[in-house]
Amino acid sequence: MNLAGILVAASAAAMCGSVAFAAEIAPTDVKFEDYAVNASLTGVAGNAEEGAKVFADRKLGNCLACHENKAMPKQLFQGNVGPSLDGVADRWSPAQLRAIVSDSKKVFGPETVMPGFYSLEVGINVRKDLVGKTVLSAQQVEDVVAYLATLKE
């Protein structure tokens, strides 16, 4: 867990006064069963509002680079490399969404264009400062999953 992740987890724990530091699952330990990841990656419930920010932020999820999402009409330039995410929660359960966001290759197969956001199975020649790092933190994945779960039609 990086420092920012620790701070987020710590402050989240402090806010709800719950038991601090539920064990975070390392990217290499995430368990995929039947195209789903059932266990929370952090033990801290995802925050959909935060997830929406991570989803749209070009430096974080940048999900709109490849996906349209009518729930974000103010965001210009939504891509269509992947399917539209309108009503995505009607098609996939939270555990399946967690699997897709963490490592889409485990769900769609190795050929998919979608990057894995919590996976260390990445391409060659990774930029030096990113070696051994995932695109999103475990809590950011939980937040994005919480946001995706709100996308119903």
Partner: protein, 284 residues
Amino acid sequence: MKKISLAVAAVATMVSSSVVSAYADPVDDKLVIDGQEMITRAPAPEGHPFKEVLSGWLFREPETRELEADSFQNSGMLYVERGQEIWNTVEGSKGKSCASCHNDAAESMKGISAHYPKWDADAKRPINIELQIDKCRTQNMGAEAYKFDAPEQKALTTFIKYQSLGAPVKLDLKQGEMQSWWDRGKKEYYTRTGQLNLACASCHEASMGKHIRADHLSQGQANGFPTYRLKQADMVSLHNRLRGCIRDTRAEMPKPFSDELMALEVYVTWRGTGLSVETPAVRQ
């Protein structure tokens, strides 16, 4: 878990058919520059993943397409003019210009760059126009090689390629070891790089015709380079563009003119076989 496996099967079908369904978007339009029609669609050579190769011009917005079609509006033409001045300028210890050996480029360079990269027996590797210029400068003019992307390098390359405007791209893979460089370039094209784990083929083959943010993904053809990019308000060399695409996968960028990028240039240029040289093309 019937529902899930159905969903997965549906997605799998989508994936396998994606090359076909992505074929939709490029416009049906003709590119005519100074009365000469460019070949913007050509039947693909054997062994190519697509049936038809398409110029990046067909994927651009109407205003951008218009700029390329009109030589008076195309800012790339300023670099052609600048390149012509350099062509005629004496430099180096031997007191020569390009024109001292090659005279009028309109004749001596006509059609030439449609066949680059080509095998260089001295260097024992393929060279592109930039490296051919450097070879002439160091060996025949007693001048220094240009630094990568020096304004003079871009202008002179643009000028020389412009002499082949309209000529169909065709490489000779039988020269020297061109074929093994092509093989290497092909392997690179399908190798995923960076933290985002994307290959050239992820964007320019599997997602061709789709939008990634505001960008309409083309086949990633090399026939328009150096291209005038509106975003940068400058000429962009091919190796600069390739490095940018690789950087966007969050990978380390290979060095300009490295074996890695030369192999990729050979393969990517071949993927555009039959398209007209469009230098200086205009892109966003």
